[in-house]
């Protein structure tokens, strides 16, 4: 692959990802409206499809205010760090066998985990730099929640890695030719899904923002495009987790009849819709319930999954 083609691929992927994340804000509000028996945004453009554009224009023209009591440098750095880590995470996602920026990287899954763990900084630093009690509380909740759920996120992927004998995401998809990993790794799938929601701090696990007790949590002091970056990074995070679920558990681009790209987009899109459905259907747990559930339920389940998967591989492997 030449350098020029590689750069083109990166630019196209980033553009597609950002427009998908922005468009997702409209999709989410329409779907929520549908499930809650109301219209949702339907005035701007046909069916309200231009709502995301209107929101973007509004955010761009708002005053970009930095509070005088904030830590200026870190305050600006925090949303940028969140955006950058999420977008870097896309580098290892293989859209098809031949279309990925670094899908063959032999530590692909670890790269993804590294980027999600660095993403915690944006929330934590945003909360700290705002120099505001609510923001600080949100940042501290985020730190504890995301560090805890990172552990299960890593552990829940171990079974998949063991079955595929590789950390490379292309190899993992190729290993699902006979059966999607969601069948033998159902526990891994469920724990990864829960950890993914907690990592993107989405409803029902959006305790860092918890608007009924913390104002808006870590981004209380943010306005204009800096808030927009937090906002879009969250949606890009959903797209990232959904693509990871597609790649790791739903067979990636594999599928009959339709071309591979369509299969990938279809699976990812349905997973995203499932994320939105969870938001519409479930109430938010209390913070201590969230942490307790993580350490007392998910951790043993993940370890059990790893042990059982290992035993099954040893039992059924031809070399014994």
């Amino acid at each position: 692959m030449t350098l020029g083609f590689g750069i083109l691929e990166i630019v196209v992927s980033l553009a597609a990802m950002l427009s998908a994340a922005a468009g997702l804000t409209w999709v989410e509000r329409r779907l929520l409206g549908f499930w809650q028996d109301r219209a949702g945004p339907n005035r701007v453009g046909p069916f309200g499809t231009l709502q995301a554009v209107a929101d973007g224009v509004k955010l761009l023209f708002k005053q970009d205010w930095i509070p005088p009591f904030a830590d200026r440098g870190v305050f600006i750095l925090a949303p940028a760090a969140g955006m950058a880590t999420v977008l870097l995470g896309f580098a290892v996602i293989p859209v098809t066998a031949g279309w990925s920026v670094a899908g063959h990287l032999n530590v692909g899954i670890l790269f993804f985990l590294a980027m999600t763990s660095l993403g915690v900084y944006s929330v934590v630093l945003g909360g700290w730099a705002s120099n505001n009690k609510f923001a600080l509380l949100g940042g501290m909740r985020a730190a504890a929640q995301m560090v805890s759920y990172e552990v299960f996120m890593g552990l829940s992927l171990l079974g998949t890695v063991m079955l595929a004998h590789s950390f490379s995401l292309v190899d993992i998809v190729m290993a699902q030719g006979r059966m999607w990993f969601i069948v033998p790794q159902f526990l891994g799938f469920v724990t990864f899904l829960l950890a993914g929601i907690a990592e993107t701090h989405r409803l029902p696990f959006d305790l860092p923002e918890g608007e009924n007790e913390l104002g808006a949590g870590f981004h209380t002091e943010y306005s204009g495009m800096k808030f927009g970056m937090f906002f879009i990074a969250e949606y890009a995070g959903i797209v990232l987790i959904a693509s990871m679920i597609t790649t790791l558990f739903l067979g990636g681009w594999l599928g009959p009849v339709l071309p591979p790209v369509v299969w990938f987009l279809l699976k990812t899109g349905l997973t995203i819709c499932f994320f939105i459905l969870l938001r519409a259907a479930l109430p938010r747990p209390r913070y201590d319930q969230l942490m307790m559930f993580g350490w007392k339920v998910l951790l043993p389940v993940c370890l059990l999954n790893v042990a059982v998967t290992g035993a099954a591989i040893l039992l059924f492997s031809p070399t014994g």
Partner: protein
């Protein structure tokens, strides 16, 4: 490859110096994160992609987050930064700086004169790391896991809520 290595090494040295000289604790920690990321890049250019990934996940992504968490809870303000400023006098940093300068000189000399050739940069994949850990280094892995278990149990004991009959 060599240019990447040099660049990452320079970033690591500069950011580590910044860690020592910053007076606001969170800024110092952020430079430390940059330093760790730079070291991860150094590992990567030397062919140890697995070690680089673990460096980012564990050190930059987990341990440093906990450091930031604790510093956030301490709620340091301007007074603390000013006090920190009075502590960093030449009397304090002259000695360590001199000793580090000697080491840096040795390193540069070794690099320029070509003594002490750098380890042959070959790719070490996750499989080789696993085989090494559970082959020749099995005892060390088991000892480390025992140590971690002991730490876990002690932390649990210290954090136990004795008020509720625990």
């Amino acid at each position: 490859m060599n240019a990447l290595f040099t660049l990452a090494a320079i970033v690591a040295v500069i950011s580590t110096t910044m860690v020592v000289t910053r007076t606001v604790a969170v800024h110092a920690l952020l430079y430390l994160v940059v330093s760790l990321l730079a070291v991860a890049t150094v590992f990567f250019t030397l062919g140890a992609a697995f070690a680089a990934a673990l460096e980012v996940i564990i050190y930059a992504g987990a341990i440093m987050i906990l450091f930031v968490f604790v510093v956030m809870m301490l709620n340091l303000d301007r007074d603390d930064a000013d006090r920190e400023n009075t502590w960093l006098t030449p009397r304090v940093w002259a000695g360590p700086a001199l000793l580090s300068a000697v080491l840096a000189g040795e390193l540069l000399y070794a690099g320029i004169a070509g003594h002490g050739t750098i380890v042959a940069a070959r790719e070490v994949g996750p499989v080789q790391v696993g085989l090494a850990l559970f082959g020749p280094y099995l005892l060390a892995v088991e000892l480390a896991s025992l140590l971690l278990l002991a730490g876990l149990i002690s932390a649990y004991h210290l954090g136990r809520d004795s008020g509720r009959g625990g």
